[in-house]
Symmetry: D2
Subunit: 184 residues, 4 copies
C-alpha cells in the first residue's frame, strides 16, 4: 500500500539548502512512500476574518494537506524560531476551528542550516506546534543537518556519504512511523 507524503519546505529561497535536503530525502523514500513537495509560496497571510475564504492558494493548500497521509517538514531556522512563512502556512491550514487539515497525520521534522546548530530552535518550536495539531511526530532519529553547504557538490547533488546514509535511514524510520498511524 502506498502512502502519500506532503513535503513542506520552510524557505522560499530558490536555491534553499533545505529544498535540496528535501529532494535528497525524497530520492531516498522507500517503496510505499510517495513524496511530493507542497508549495507555500503563494499563500496569503493568515487572517482569521477571512479564514472561511482564504483565496484559491489557501484552499488549494488545505486540499493538498487534507489529501495526504503524512507530512514531512524540512526547514531552516529563522531567528532561532520557525520561519514565519512556514508557521503561516501551518496556521492557515489549521483553521477554521474544528476543521484543521493536520489532525492525526503522522509527521517528521528535519532542520538544516549552514552552521553547527542545524536549526535546533526551529525544529523544536515546530514540534510544539505539531503536538497541538494532534500530529504524532517521529521522535528518533532526530534530524539536524548542520554545515549543510558543505554536503553538496557543485551540481547541487548530495556528496556526503554519511549524510546520504543518514537520510536513507531516516526515511525508513519515517516510513515505519507512517505505517503505524496511517489509515487503511
Amino acid at each position: 500500500m502506498t502512502r502519500n507524503v506532503a513535503v513542506i519546505v520552510g524557505s522560499l529561497r530558490k536555491d534553499s539548502w533545505n529544498r535540496k535536503i528535501a529532494h535528497a530525502l525524497m530520492e531516498r523514500a522507500p517503496a510505499g512512500l510517495t513524496c511530493a513537495i507542497v508549495e507555500i509560496r503563494d499563500l496569503p497571510l493568515f487572517d482569521q476574518d477571512r479564514e472561511a475564504d482564504p483565496g484559491p492558494a489557501g484552499v488549494g493548500f488545505r486540499t493538498a494537506i487534507r489529501g495526504c497521509d503524512a507530512v514531512l517538514f524540512v526547514t531552516p531556522e529563522y531567528n532561532r524560531g520557525v520561519p514565519g512563512v512556514l508557521k503561516n502556512a501551518i496556521d492557515l491550514a489549521s483553521r477554521p476551528w474544528g476543521q484543521s487539515v493536520w489532525t492525526g497525520k503522522p509527521g517528521a521534522v528535519v532542520s538544516a542550516s549552514i552552521g553547527g546548530i542545524a536549526g535546533f530552535g526551529a525544529n523544536h518550536h515546530l514540534r510544539q506546534t505539531l503536538m497541538f495539531l494532534d500530529m504524532p511526530v517521529l521522535a528518533q532519529p532526530e534530524a539536524y543537518i548542520g554545515n549543510v553547504a558543505s554536503l553538496f557538490d557543485g551540481d547541487g547533488k548530495l556528496a556526503n556519504e554519511g549524510t546520504a546514509k543518514f537520510l536513507e535511514n531516516f526515511m525508513q524510520s519515517f516510513a515505519a512511523w507512517v505505517g503505524r498511524f496511517a489509515k487503511g
Copy 2:
C-alpha cells in the same frame, strides 16, 4: 525626554483581543513613552531572494522599526507558537544580514488569550527570537492575560480593575526598562 515605542499586534483580526489589550496598554503609557501601532497586515511573505527589495510595505515596516526606540509585542498564540504573520514581520525586518532593524532595541512581550494559558507558548517562543535579535526584553513582570474576553465591556473598554492596574504597572516597568537602554 520622549521615547517612541512601536507596538506590534500579532493578529490581523479586526476585533482582535490583543489589539484591544494593545490599546489598553497604550492608554496607560506613562509620560515619556509615545506609543503607536505599526501594522504588519500588508507585508509580503519573507523571501530571502527578495530581501534587498521587499516592496513598499516591507520598506515602510523596516523604516518604522528603525526609527523607534523600543518595541512592545502584544500577541495571541497560534497553535502553541508565535503567529506566522508576526514571525514573518520579524523575519522580514531582520534582514539582510547585518542590517537588522531590531538590534539593541529594548522590548517587552504581552500575550493574551481567551483561555487560561494566556499565550504562554507564543510568549516564550517569541522571547527566544528576540534574544537572537539582540533585543533586551523585560523579564518581570511577565504579562499573560488570560480569559481576555471577560475583561472588556460591551463597548470594548477594559472593565476589569485588576487587569487595568496590572497593565498600568506593566507600562511603568517597561518605561523604566526602556530608559535603561535607550540612547540619548
Copy 3:
C-alpha cells in the same frame, strides 16, 4: 492484556497537588492499565562519574522503569521549567549511554498548578526531553490542570465534575496510546 504504568510525580512535597492529581488519574485508569507511583525522593544527584553505580535507590529506580510498559508524568512547574528533582530522575535513568531505560516506552504528560498557566512551561520542556529519549508521547488531549487548589474538597478528593470527566477521558486516550505501542 494488562499494561503496567509507572506514574512519576514531579514534586517531593507531601501534600503536593500534583500527587493528588496523580491519584485522581490512577483511580480513573481503564481496565487494562495498572498504575503505580514510582518514587524519586531518594535518588542521588546524577553524577556521570558514578553512572555505572548510582546506589541502591538509583538501581531500584532504573529497574522499576525498565519493568514498566508506559510512563505517566504528573508535574508542577518550577521556575517556568521542569522541576530539578524530576529532571534529575530522568537523567539518572537515561544513562549509561546506550542503556537508557526510557527508550521506546509510550508516555503522557500532565501538568498542574494553582494558577492559570497550569505548568505549560514544564509540560513542554519535559516533552522536548522525552522526544530525545525516544518516547512516543500522547499529543492530544493535552492536560493542563489550572487552579488546582480549587478542584479538591477538604478531604483531598477531587470535587470538580468537569475535571473528573476530563481526567477519565484522558486516561482512556492514554490507554489507547499505550496499546498502540506496547509490546506483546
Copy 4:
C-alpha cells in the same frame, strides 16, 4: 569597582568539559570581574516541605548566590534540557517564595557539548527559567561551544585560538552587561 561573579557548572563530572570551559572563561575575565565557581554537588534534592531549612549545603549555596553581583552559568545539555542537578540548585535557591536569591542579578549562559548542537536546548530552557527569576540575561553574543573535546590539548588547556578569542570577547560583553545592572 569589582563585581563578584558566581560561576555555576551544570555537570558534576570531575573532568567535565563545561568545567574546563568555565575555567577558560574565568581566566579571561577582564579587570573588574572576580569570578569563583560555586559548587552544587552537595545540595539536597529540593523539597518544598523543607524549603525553610535545606541543610548546611543548601544554606551555604543560597548565601553564596545572595552575596554575588552576577551569575555565569556554564552547562552541558542532558537529554535536550537543563541538567537536573543544575535545575535543582536553581530551584533550591529560588525559595521560599519571596526570598529568591536570584532576583535582579545579571546573568549569562554558556553551553558546551561534544557535538555540534552545543547544548542549544539546555541554553534556552535555562534562559526561560532565568527570565522568571527576574535575571537580566545577556542576549548577544550567544555562546554555544560545540565539538568541545577538540578544543583542548592533552594538558586540559584551551588550544583553539578562535575559541580563546571568542571567550575573551564574551567575558568583555558580560562585564559590560554586569556593569549596566550591578548596584553601587
